[in-house]
Symmetry: C2
Subunit: 326 residues, 2 copies
């Protein structure tokens, strides 16, 4: 079996993606120099553009022939970038995409405000597109993302976070924007309500799978993934691998998780201990299994569309999200 | 002469304002409890609702008979509240409206994210209204506000900030939303482009006047205004009273301003010294004089409208903004 990748999607949308990148660069400009500087740091840092790619891919899957999807893909990326900038403030994370965060270079203030600028620019882009329906979809997604982030915040440092709470958080903070990104592809193509709903569901299932795999990766990825290992743990963010390990743990282990996630200073060996406990209960694998189950649903969602290279490429994206090398 | 106040505007819009407050409470709800808690702390803290009042007043001035202005006034207040929440992160200010800020109680993270939620809810409210024109006006204003805040950030701690830079900052960070708030009143009433532009100009001039007076107040207000004196100075925010004093200062004074605004620890007497230097050059008065000049332009903008109680009430608001007791 070949290693799953997003290469086929990139190949099929290459011309469109170049156009999207041009729009992104144009729309992040401002007479205030710090804005494009800071925005470029994040936007040009070599992210995979997975969300705008999904808008492009969904539009293509729906046989769309116009150009609206280009601008809207740029808007989706701006919303995502704004949340990353605000998440940097929030999480005090040290690295994103393997580089210094904007926050460590320019400070909290600039990250918040440039995020606000990009968010406003996204809405200006949607207004230029002129569809109240698209504006409704993406403003709703933005509100849900913020709710998800606050929900996550309210369970930080709480080792006894439930699975249900965790799933609600990842649906809102991650999957809602994936779902909106794919739905918008169907909307510009003026497909039926059924196809629109199906693409929404596809994005939702893919987004959940993506975040589950990402949370597994935080405990078992390699430096090659460009992510700092153990970020979630260090921040006291309680994710599924931990929830599942704690459920099965004895009193000593429960006590370890409680202390380690409390926000108190960590011992040097704490992360290694955490990894050993996840290994003991195979919870990284269990998390990935769940990711694959949502991925399978996403693949099933695609079934209503006729076979085509773009359908196969979106299929590959799902596998890529859940089968990344760990 | 009677003390200028916003009482006449409050009286004329009382029923509408109650409806706006109801909408605000409804729209800030969320299944995530921290969101309405934190939002209520700020939104229900007894602010003057000056921006939504201006939308209501402008619509009334234009003879508008419908109800769209209620929802849009709530949207304007949400955008303002979101910027306040993000400004709290930014400025490390200790008090706003005489109470603890949300930030000091719930932390940076919550302020950023609840601000994002309210901002998204504002856009959802505009989508429900259904006017792309209004969406365009308020998304543009939001982008300009963010630019203004970043512009201000880029001149923090720089005692040699120019008047032109300062004026660009206050136009963007404050006056743009005043202008959008009043313009929207004309838009819902479907007035001519001329009247719409006139009300935009009215809001812009009033907003500039309001911010100039606010910046004067930071050096000469009394505790009764509910604002902590010396906030701008302590934060190294370079405002017009300082710019004008530094322009006229000798080398010793220039050196004082440079050190005091640099962000280095302040001596206990620093703020008193600053006030004495402003007094020496009468720059609080000069700032208020400039505020009154913009106020006079705002009053002139109103002249195209026939005399009426609402016109007189808006006139009073201008005087209130520039003649507050110091």
């Amino acid at each position: 079996m070949h290693t799953p990748s997003i290469d086929a999607l990139l190949a099929l949308t290459a011309t469109d993606l170049v156009a999207v990148n041009t729009l992104i660069v144009e729309q992040m400009q401002s007479d205030v120099p710090l804005i494009p500087q800071l925005a470029a740091h994040l936007i040009m840092a070599g992210g995979k553009r997975i969300r705008p790619l999904l808008t492009l891919g969904s539009a293509l899957l729906c046989g769309y022939q116009g150009t609206r999807h280009l601008n809207l893909a740029a808007c989706v990326e701006f919303i995502h970038t704004a949340t990353l900038l605000h998440d940097d403030v929030v999480d005090e994370s040290d690295k994103r995409r393997g580089r210094e965060t904007a926050n460590t270079i320019w400070g909290n203030k600039a990250s918040v405000l440039v995020g606000d600028y990009l968010f406003s620019r996204a809405f200006e882009g949607m207004v230029a597109d002129g569809s109240l329906k698209v504006l409704g979809i993406l403003s709703r997604a933005s509100a849900v993302i913020a709710e998800g982030e606050v929900l996550q915040l309210s369970s930080m440092h709480n080792a006894y976070t439930t699975e249900a709470h965790y799933m609600a958080v990842i649906r809102a903070k991650t999957a809602a924007l994936f779902a909106a990104a794919t739905q918008v592809g169907a909307v510009v193509a003026e497909k039926s309500a059924t196809e629109e709903q199906t693409l929404y569901d596809f994005g939702m299932n893919l987004g959940i799978a993506f975040q589950l795999a990402d949370d597994a990766l935080d405990y078992s990825g390699t430096a090659a993934t460009g992510k700092t290992l153990g970020n979630d743990f260090a921040q006291g963010k309680v994710t599924l691998p931990v929830i599942l390990a704690l459920q099965q743990g004895d009193e000593t282990e429960k006590s370890f998780w409680n202390n380690a996630l409390s926000g108190a200073p960590l011992e040097d060996t704490a992360f290694t201990t955490a990894q050993q406990l996840l290994e003991k209960y195979q919870t990284v694998e269990a998390t990935l299994t769940r990711a694959r189950a949502f991925g399978a649903q996403a693949i099933e969602n695609l079934e209503v569309f006729p076979d085509s290279p773009i359908k196969q490429a979106l299929h590959d994206v799902v596998l890529f999200a859940t089968e990344r090398p760990y």
